[in-house]
């Protein structure tokens, strides 16, 4: 009896130490193993979803029919308004492109993109990720920005030949260099799935107003091209004696309902 007990405790110790070792130095192993695991799992996920998704959609369509009709009316009105704005924007975009070219900054509108369908949301409730159906075979690489549904969605953090993982803005590991208010620089951090973002490094005296939009700055080591809409300021305050403002930012993209996204084929630092 003593021998199995010792063996049990020895195995427990070894496996716990192995897990702690992975926590400490597992990064390089993770990237290689992650690519292999994605390659193995993605085809099976797609196959299972091809069976389960229509059933789920049918149930959801039946339950939410009235909401869908109401949303359709709202979207039709918004579409008409957006068509009108598009004409005006084309002129402004041309001007912006010329200005950015002068400063040698990349412009989102001129960069190639790959449209991808999301086929799964978070594996864990402690992370904010989506899986997409485009991978390295389509030119998608680690670090590429992902946009969709109104703004920046996140960054590609793992790829296989046929799929990739996108870490969303809201994930606690995400941070984006942004321009805020009248050109002030800040860094926006994720606070966890389905939670607002927090903007940091904004001085207490800086004029920042709720409702203003924030955009990628194109700086922060060149992780994102300039000018991608990131979010809208919800609240800003600075406590007594605080060294920076406390700013809550709501992502512009609806990260809880992503069906399609665009991967911007732009490598950081280029």
């Amino acid at each position: 009896m003593a021998q199995p007990r010792r063996r049990r405790l020895a195995t427990l110790t070894i496996l716990l130490l192995a897990a702690l070792t992975l926590l400490a130095i597992g990064g390089p192993f993770r990237s290689v193993a992650s690519r292999v695991a994605h390659g193995v799992v993605n085809p099976f996920v797609t196959a299972v979803q091809s069976v389960t998704r229509p059933v789920g959609d049918a149930i959801a369509g039946t339950v939410d029919y009235s909401d869908v009709v109401a949303q359709n009316h709202v979207l039709s009105a918004e579409l008409a308004s957006l068509h009108q704005q598009q004409v005006q924007l084309e002129y402004e975009q041309r001007q912006l492109r010329d200005l950015l070219a002068l400063h040698r900054l990349p412009y989102l509108g001129s960069l190639p993109r790959v449209v991808a369908q999301t086929n799964a949301q978070n594996l864990s409730n402690f992370a904010a990720t989506v899986q997409i159906d485009k991978g390295s075979a389509d030119g998608v690489l680690d670090g590429m920005p992902v946009v969709g549904a109104g703004g920046l969605v996140g960054t590609v953090t793992a790829t296989s030949a046929s799929g990739a993982t996108v870490t969303l803005l809201t994930d606690a590991t995400s941070s984006v260099g942004v321009t805020i208010g009248a050109g002030y620089q800040a860094v926006v951090h994720g606070q966890g799935p389905s939670r607002q973002l927090a903007a940091e490094f904004v001085n207490p005296g800086t004029p920042v107003h709720a409702g203003e939009h924030v955009y990628t700055s194109g700086q922060q080591g060149g992780l994102y091209p300039a000018g991608i809409p990131v979010g809208r300021i919800v609240t800003s305050s600075s406590g007594r004696g605080a060294t920076q403002q406390s700013i809550a930012v709501s992502p512009l993209a609806n990260l809880d309902a992503l069906a399609y996204v665009s991967v911007v084929l732009w490598e950081p630092g280029t």
Partner: protein
């Protein structure tokens, strides 16, 4: 434990990820979904003892961590603890498929599902991930507990022939008619 059984645990871990991504992700309540990763160490521990239970927790955890940007190895760490605890009970014949009442394994699964995300969050905070202790943690625990309770017995049936005759656990006959 033989290489064959390790290989089966890898297959089981990958299958759990497929089911998680393809089905469980869509079953959300207030932006939270059930996590299936805890089912594997609970079922393996109850059906085959501590060694397979800990191995299932480690392998399943490592595989799950490959798909998320959370600390690599954290799920494995918690999985090993869960697998050890359930394995100790499994070796006493508690929650066994043949010898125990039908509700024992689901009850243990519910308890593990409730505790595992809480341990995960606490260890995560200790590692500097303060956002893990969020208001939604209670809901995460409840959903994981329900998923674990519902799936533990079917998973035990599937794992029993694959993990049979562990040197610590012996053949899959009920050791005692406990509970």
């Amino acid at each position: 434990m033989s290489w064959g059984r390790w290989a089966w645990l890898v297959v089981a871990g990958l299958a759990v990820v497929v089911l998680q991504l393809a089905i469980a992700d869509a079953l959300t309540v207030a932006h939270v979904h059930p996590e299936l990763v805890w089912v594997l160490p609970v079922a393996a521990g109850l059906v085959a003892g501590t060694l397979p239970g800990m191995a299932a927790g480690f392998v399943g955890g490592v595989i799950a961590d490959l798909f998320v940007p959370t600390p690599f190895g954290l799920t494995a760490f918690v999985g090993v603890l869960i697998g050890y605890a359930m394995g100790r009970l499994g070796e006493e014949g508690i929650g066994d498929l043949a010898g125990s009442q039908w509700w024992v394994a689901p009850s243990l699964g519910f308890a593990c599902g409730l505790v595992a995300p809480a341990i995960y969050a606490v260890v995560g905070v200790a590692l500097g991930h303060h956002s893990y202790l969020s208001p939604s943690l209670a809901l995460v625990c409840v959903l994981d507990a329900v998923a674990c309770a519902l799936l533990v017995r079917p998973t035990m049936w599937l794992l029993a022939p694959l993990l049979a005759e562990d040197p610590l656990r012996g053949p899959l006959e009920p050791v005692r008619g406990a509970m």
